[in-house]
Subunit: 220 residues, 2 copies
């Protein structure tokens, strides 16, 4: 049930697998238009399948969306955890490296085909089903790893200060994932654009590190 591409399809009309195509069509449409704006008929039209296929393969539209969220959230958290582990091994005690591990995955995802998955996750955070929003709010296990790592790297900072700053850092991070760069582009008369992902990542980490009271980064 977790991977829509496991079962090869035998029917001639579904060369790429109807279940997988429904998954991708729903993800793409939601990431573009939002959860409430996408209907079952929109999904099956994009996927090129009959309307009954959604309920046949996923039970309900609700469960389809939950499944998409589950798959993508797992992927993102796994990537973040891996980057954090690498940072802790290679540069232990470097708070800036920890913040980098927190910010990097989402910034990279925007640059490639995973942009769709990331935007789906962002939608889920604010407009997704109640069940999903509840999970996001209360399942903080993977975030706790980052807090603990930061506490190790910044032993002099009171834990309450550290948690609030971490909270603010998540705000910066999520706002940037929403890709609302048009306002910035207008404000800057077009000079500020998110095209250079490396530079954007550096600016992001710089800002958050500054918020944590860290000194400016050394030239890399």
């Amino acid at each position: 049930m977790s991977d829509p591409s496991t079962k090869p399809n035998t029917h001639p009309a579904s060369e790429a697998g109807a279940k997988l195509r429904i998954f991708q069509a729903a993800e793409a449409l939601v990431s573009e238009q939002g959860f409430d704006a996408v209907s079952t008929r929109d999904i099956v039209a994009k996927a090129g399948v009959n309307i009954a296929a959604v309920n046949y393969h996923y039970g309900t539209k609700h469960r389809l969306l939950l499944e998409i969220f589950r798959v993508r959230a797992t992927e993102l958290n796994r990537e973040r955890s891996q980057l954090l582990r690498v940072a802790m091994e290679e540069r232990p005690g470097d708070a800036r490296a920890i913040l980098h591990a927190l910010v990097e995955p989402a910034t990279l995802w925007i640059s490639d085909e995973r942009r769709v998955a990331l935007r789906f996750l962002n939608r889920a955070r604010s407009e997704g089903p109640l069940e999903v929003r509840e999970t996001i709010r209360t399942d903080v296990r993977h975030l706790r790893r980052f807090v603990d790592a930061l506490a190790l790297a910044l032993p002099a900072m009171p834990r309450e200060d550290l948690l609030w700053r971490f909270h603010f850092a998540l705000g910066v991070l999520h706002y940037n994932q929403s890709a609302d760069y048009e306002r910035l582009s207008i404000l800057s008369d077009g000079t500020c654009a998110p095209d250079d992902r490396v530079a954007l990542l550096r600016r992001l980490v710089d800002f958050i590190a500054g918020g944590f009271g860290l000194p400016p980064a050394a030239a890399s």
Copy 2:
């Protein structure tokens, strides 16, 4: 049309004014449940009026929501402009005071009955009608005043740097307005709560000022 309380109502059943009660009911429901989750029938049920009243007083449900947004956005922008003006007069060249003027209104609104209006505006930003989201994205006039003020206070900072940091600052600000404090509460085992608005405001400004590379605030 702008103030739903202007016309005194003559009908016995509408002692507080049907138009005003519709306005308030819609604002409250949307701020709690989101734009797409609230139906016309929900609104009239909460307002205690007939379902035809919405279309009679506001034309369409769409125009009702646009009107609420227009009224509340005007109020918020006016308050921010006024605080910025005071900051520029009393503490010219103080970047921290400018950031304070940017952050303070929303933080104060959360504390009183305007919390409903603020949450409505936040909803409008992400899930509101396309027309509203377009306005928010492209109407940057009141933001430009803050950018210009910051440029005056931080003459050494390249404009591109300043704009990016301002962009990030808006991220922190909006994230906090969304009032997603439950995750922080869980992460901190309940020790971090947004009850003390003065302290929260100080922490917010501290973090953003740090992101701008400003030195830590002097004790007030």
